[in-house]
C-alpha cells in the first residue's frame, strides 16, 4: 500500500523473526490494515520502528535460544524497558512472564507469574474459536464486542501473580477453567489467541494496535481504509 502524500508514512511494524513459525499470516494481516512490515531477524532491524510484534507458537526454551543466537533478546528487552508499543502473540505473550513450566525455560520476567499447562481442560491443545471476555477498556479492543470469539491454539498460558496480577489481566477465556487470554500494562500488550487468524475482529484488533502507535502521518487514514476493505 502506498502512502498518498509526501508527509504521510504508514506506520512501520517490526515482526520479530526468530525462526518460530508462521510469520506470513501476521505480516499479511498488518499489510491489510495499511502498515509497513519489517521482518526483524537482526538487531539493527529494530531501528526506526514504530511498533514491535513478537509472534510465535511452540515452546519457550527453543524460542529463547533462537532470540539469543540472533542477538535479538537484548534489543527486544530494551524496547520493552522503554515502554515502546509492543504486542506479544501466543508464545510472544508467554515469553513476557518469568518462566515456563513446559520446559523450565527462564523467560523475559516482565510479568510476575509463570506459563503453566491449562488446568482442567477437557481437550488439549486448546484449538479453535473461544470467547474473549474483556475485563476493562483498552484501545486494543476498540469496536470489538466484549465477548467476541478469537482463534486459539495452545496448551499453556501465562498466569499473572502478585499484587499486579489484577491490573495486568485484560481479558479472560474459559476452557475447563478460566485463564488470562490478554494482558496489558503501559504500551505493552499480549494476547494468547491469534488475531491474525481471527477474521474480521482479529484484523480490527491489529488495526487498533497499529492505530495506537500515534500519528505517523497517514496512519489513521490507512488503518481505516485497511479494515474497511475486508
Amino acid at each position: 500500500m502506498t502512502a498518498p502524500g509526501p508527509a504521510a508514512r504508514p506506520p512501520r511494524i517490526g515482526v520479530v523473526d526468530y525462526g518460530a513459525g508462521n510469520l506470513v499470516s501476521i505480516g499479511q494481516a498488518l499489510q491489510a490494515v495499511g502498515a509497513d512490515v519489517v521482518l526483524a531477524h537482526r538487531p539493527e532491524a529494530l531501528a526506526g520502528l514504530d511498533g514491535l510484534i513478537v509472534p510465535g507458537v511452540g515452546a519457550a526454551a527453543p524460542a529463547m535460544n533462537r532470540l539469543r543466537r540472533r542477538r535479538l533478546l537484548e534489543p527486544v528487552l530494551a524496547w520493552l524497558a522503554d515502554d515502546r508499543p509492543f504486542l506479544g502473540i501466543c508464545l510472544g505473550l508467554q515469553l513476557l512472564f518469568e518462566g515456563s513450566d513446559e520446559d523450565g525455560a527462564r523467560t523475559f520476567g516482565l510479568i510476575s507469574g509463570r506459563t503453566s499447562l491449562l488446568e482442567g481442560a477437557p481437550r488439549l491443545p486448546h484449538i479453535g474459536w473461544n470467547q474473549v471476555e474483556v475485563l476493562r477498556d483498552h484501545p486494543l479492543f476498540d469496536g470489538i464486542s466484549p465477548q467476541a470469539n478469537f482463534y486459539f491454539v495452545h496448551s499453556y498460558a501465562g498466569v499473572p501473580e502478585g499484587p499486579e496480577a489484577g491490573g495486568m489481566a485484560l481479558a479472560e477465556t474459559e476452557h475447563g477453567g478460566r485463564f488470562v487470554s490478554a494482558v496489558a500494562r503501559g504500551r505493552m500488550a499480549g494476547v494468547q489467541f491469534h488475531p491474525e487468524r481471527s477474521g474480521r475482529d482479529g484484523l480490527r484488533m491489529i488495526g487498533n494496535f497499529v492505530r495506537s502507535l500515534g500519528d505517523t502521518g497517514a496512519s489513521r487514514e490507512l488503518v481505516a481504509a485497511g479494515t474497511g476493505a475486508r
Binding site: V24, A32, R123, P125, I127, V153, R197, R200
Partner: protein
C-alpha cells in the same frame, strides 16, 4: 466455551479446486484463494486444502495458492496431501499454512509425526486417518475399523483406534477422521467411529465423510463427540450454507461462532 468448528474442505489439483469421483472425472470448481475467501466471509471457522495431485512437480503451484489464500482469508488453514518430510512441512508453513495434515507418510513412517511436532509444535501437526469398517470379522465380534492410505485405496492392517491413540502420543495435535464407507455418500457421518476415537484420545477430533445436511453436523458433535466438523460437496454445490449449518447447531445447544457480519 470453546466453539465447535465448521470447516469446508477444498480438494485441489494442479492449482484448481476440483471435484470428482475416486479422483477421476475431475470437474473444475474454481480458484482456491477465491473460494477460500468466500468461505471465510460466509463464516467458515477454518479451511482445509487437500492436494490430491500431490505429485512433486505440483508443489510449487500448491505453495503459490497457499500464499495467495493466506493473503485473503484471515482464518486458519490446514494443508494436506503429499507431505513426506519435515522440510516439505516447513515449506507449506512458510507459505502461510497454520497446520499440515499427514496421512500416508505418517503410516509409512510414524516417527515423522514426532519429528514434525518437535520442530513446529504439535498444534501444527494434524494426522488424517481414513478408516473403513471391517467386514472380515466373525459374526458377533465387536465393531472395528481399519486404516487405509493412498486416498483410501490401500489397506494397512492398522486398527483405526490404536493408530489414533499412537498418533496422538507421537505428537499429533489434532486428528482428522474420515469414514471411507460414508465419504461422498451423503448418508451422514459414521458417529460410532468418531465417538470410539474421540473417547480414546484427548486431542481434538475433526469429523469427516458423509455430511448431507445440518442434522449430520449436530450428530457428529452430539453422538460422535467431534470437536469440529468438515464437509466439502454440500458447501461447494451450495446445497447448504455455513450459516445455515451453524444455525442448526446453535439451535441444538452446540456452541458455535456466529459471525454477525457473515453473509448467509
Amino acid at each position: 466455551m470453546l466453539c465447535h468448528r465448521v470447516i469446508p474442505c477444498l480438494d485441489v489439483a494442479n492449482g484448481r479446486v476440483v471435484k470428482g469421483t475416486n479422483f477421476i472425472d475431475l470437474v473444475d470448481e474454481g480458484d482456491p484463494p477465491e473460494l477460500a475467501e468466500r468461505y471465510a466471509r460466509e463464516g467458515a471457522d477454518e479451511l482445509v486444502f487437500l492436494d490430491i495431485t500431490a505429485a512433486p512437480e505440483g508443489r510449487g503451484t500448491l505453495l503459490d495458492i497457499v500464499e495467495r489464500t493466506a493473503r485473503r482469508a484471515f482464518i486458519p488453514l490446514t494443508v494436506g496431501g503429499g507431505v513426506r518430510h519435515v522440510n516439505e512441512m516447513r515449506d507449506v508453513l512458510r507459505a502461510g499454512a497454520d497446520k499440515v495434515s499427514l496421512n500416508t507418510a505418517a503410516v509409512a513412517d510414524p516417527d515423522l509425526i514426532k519429528r514434525c511436532a518437535r520442530r513446529f509444535g504439535r498444534q501444527a501437526v494434524v494426522v488424517a486417518i481414513d478408516a473403513k469398517r471391517r467386514t472380515d470379522l466373525p459374526a458377533g465380534s465387536p465393531v472395528a475399523w481399519e486404516v487405509y492410505v493412498r486416498g483410501g485405496r490401500l489397506a494397512t492392517g492398522f486398527d483405526a483406534l490404536d493408530w489414533a491413540a499412537r498418533a496422538a502420543t507421537l505428537g499429533a495435535g489434532e486428528l482428522l477422521v474420515t469414514s471411507i464407507d460414508r465419504d461422498g455418500t451423503r448418508s451422514g457421518f459414521d458417529t460410532d467411529l468418531l465417538r470410539a476415537i474421540s473417547d480414546r484420545v484427548t486431542v481434538p477430533l475433526v469429523a469427516s465423510g458423509g455430511a448431507a445436511g445440518p442434522a449430520d453436523f449436530v450428530a457428529a458433535v452430539r453422538e460422535g463427540h467431534a470437536d469440529a466438523v468438515l464437509a466439502a460437496s454440500i458447501f461447494h454445490r451450495r446445497m447448504h450454507s455455513i450459516a445455515g449449518v451453524k444455525a442448526a447447531m446453535a439451535a441444538a445447544g452446540i456452541p458455535v461462532r456466529l459471525d454477525e457480519g457473515a453473509a448467509a
